[in-house]
């Protein structure tokens, strides 16, 4: 059982009436709301938090990629991962991930991930994503080719890492006469590949077929995760093998404090900041980004997404977050990780406005008083 600490690096300084005055925290959110001086302190503080996770003994730390938004301030997660290679000694550094269709040429990902693997001494987890819907608006990349480009780019990158170069590559979207990345990764045959997903059958079957690891992105009702990992195990069986728990990751925010009541009091306002402001318009879906069938399924699943939740009761019942005393968190975490059958938990608590000291306190309690009992 492995535990990873993830960080979105959210922007905590949105105006008080943001949710009423703005229709989106994404794409067209005016960047005059960003303050680079405050941004400097914030990056330091967020990097400190991730370095602290390494000290506390988390198995890994996670960064990810988003563009033109207040939800996550890492348009280049690889830059943050590079900084973290110099601030951490032991833990894995999971970049989950690079949105492959946004990179042209995608060989850039093969190169930068290899750099990170070499810099970190073989501690990289290579996450590859299609990228969220809003990114296709921000980068003006054609969403109707998102899936095709993702698969071609992924195959190209893996081949670039595993086949001696130079070689020629020719596929529908990419042609390269000389594929020959320097450096090559330390981990052999290549760094572990994680693919985050939100439960679409297309992605589940693809990841199972390739024997990569499937990371269920957080913010969904527990029923969605139950179904998702069930589908994943089935897909692995269809592909002729039994799913390894390490191939399944569950994304779940966790906050620990001295008592249940204190935990809720300390955490709840910051979760609402996140839900009401930062998730606003995250589900912006460009046409062709998914099949019409999947688009319809997403519409039907409305109500099972964190952004649709209206009160604390709904958060608790849907297990959108685990919040409580060490004992409560221990019990819930143990119950659900076993029920879901996952071997990887991706947790975080920094929703943007949570004070730095509280984030550190919760992380320390989680690492010292909870995780040793749920390994």
């Amino acid at each position: 059982m492995r535990y990873y600490f993830f960080h979105l690096m959210s922007w905590p300084y949105l105006p008080a009436h943001f949710a009423d005055d703005y229709d989106s925290a994404w794409v067209w959110l005016p960047n005059s709301l960003y303050d680079p001086i405050k941004g400097h302190d914030l990056y330091q503080n967020y990097l400190d938090t991730l370095a602290y996770a390494d000290e506390l003994g988390f198995d890994g730390i996670c960064v990810n990629e988003h563009h033109q938004n207040a939800y996550g301030l890492m348009p280049s997660p690889n830059l943050m991962a590079a900084a973290l290679t110099q601030r951490t000694r032991r833990c894995q550094i999971a970049v989950i991930g690079n949105a492959l269709p946004l990179y042209n040429p995608p060989l850039r990902v093969a190169e930068e991930f290899a750099m990170l693997d070499v810099l970190s001494g073989g501690r990289l987890v290579a996450g590859m994503v299609i990228g969220g819907g809003p990114e296709y608006f921000s980068y003006q990349v054609n969403p109707t080719y998102a899936r095709e480009r993702f698969r071609e780019a992924l195959d190209l990158i893996v081949k670039a890492w595993t086949t001696p170069g130079p070689f020629l590559w020719n596929s529908k979207h990419y042609f390269f006469r000389y594929v020959n990345p320097w450096p090559r990764p330390i981990q052999q045959p290549h760094p572990p590949i994680w693919i985050p997903g939100a439960g679409s059958l297309e992605t589940v079957e693809f990841v199972a077929g390739r024997r990569y690891a499937y990371m269920g992105i957080p913010y969904f009702h527990i029923d969605i995760f139950r179904r998702m990992f069930g589908l994943f195990r089935e897909a692995c069986e269809k592909a002729g093998y039994k799913a390894d728990p390490g191939q399944m990751g569950w994304g779940i925010p966790i906050y620990v404090a001295e008592t249940d009541r204190q935990a809720r009091e300390e955490f709840e306002p910051h979760l609402w900041y996140f839900i009401r402001n930062l998730l606003k318009n995250i589900s912006l879906a460009p046409p062709g980004y998914t099949s019409a069938k999947s688009a319809l399924a997403i519409l039907r699943n409305r109500g099972q997404f964190l952004a649709d939740q209206k009160d604390w009761d709904a958060i608790e019942k849907g297990v959108f977050a685990i919040v409580g005393s060490p004992e409560t968190v221990r019990q819930k975490l143990d119950h659900y990780r076993k029920e879901l059958g996952v071997g990887v938990v991706l947790t975080g608590c920094q929703t943007g406005t949570l004070p730095h000291e509280l984030a550190r306190k919760s992380m320390a309690m989680l690492a010292k008083e909870v995780l040793p009992h749920v390994r």
Partner: protein
Amino acid sequence: MFDALKKLRYGARVFLSRKGGEPEVIDVGGRSVSILSGGEGPPFVYLHSTLGESMRWLPFHAAWSKHFTVYAPLHPGFGQSGGFDEISNIEDMAFHYVELFDALGLGEVILGGVSLGGWIAAEFAVRWPERVKKLWLSGTPGLWVEEQPLPDLFRDMANIPRLRALLFHDPDGYMAKMVLGDHPDEERRVAGYQAMTVLARLVWERPYDPKLARRLHRIQCPTLLLWGGNDRLVPPAYGEAYRQHLPQSEMKIIPNCGHLAMFEKEAEFVEAVTAFCQ
């Protein structure tokens, strides 16, 4: 109440005009093409907008069929029309149509369309001008007018009231509410999503063809530019831009009309096209 009656009346007109618009699926180089046709007279090809309005034989198709043999095909990716995998840009659409016309045995045609359909017609005409007897374009993108950038239709695609405001002069009128209903059923939603997927494939990276302007001089046939005076999606300035490159063209504005003249001002629209094409 009054609107409900108007809707019923339109429904009755659709019902009464249905004959003549028999749907057919034909094979064009391995791609299936769904096509409605009807009427008698010189061949007249109507290319539909992203709404996919040629899925049904509507009163405006029927009105033209009194004067022409009307062909109303569905573009690749719409309804039963396949071949979307082979489409990556607007030129592919033009090539699709030359193959369709060959398959139908159509030499020279009267060609026109609304919005996306008009753009495909223009791209066809610059490549095969000898096959276009007359050309008409309505609410047609394809060019770029620096002073009036086209709005982002995709941003508003899930917001029906905003979409209606973009597409109709009178977004509260019965026609706006009939074409873009408040509660579309799943079938309509899927069709809408597919239609927007085709459009996204063509225009997402760049919502115009940078080569079209310098090719337009190849079109020598009579050309009508028919615009809703209040078209907010593709403003009349785009018609003006076409006119500048097509000195033989005439521009006609339909007052109090948005982007979809065939719905919002059907009578004026049909009359203007018919008078020009006869």
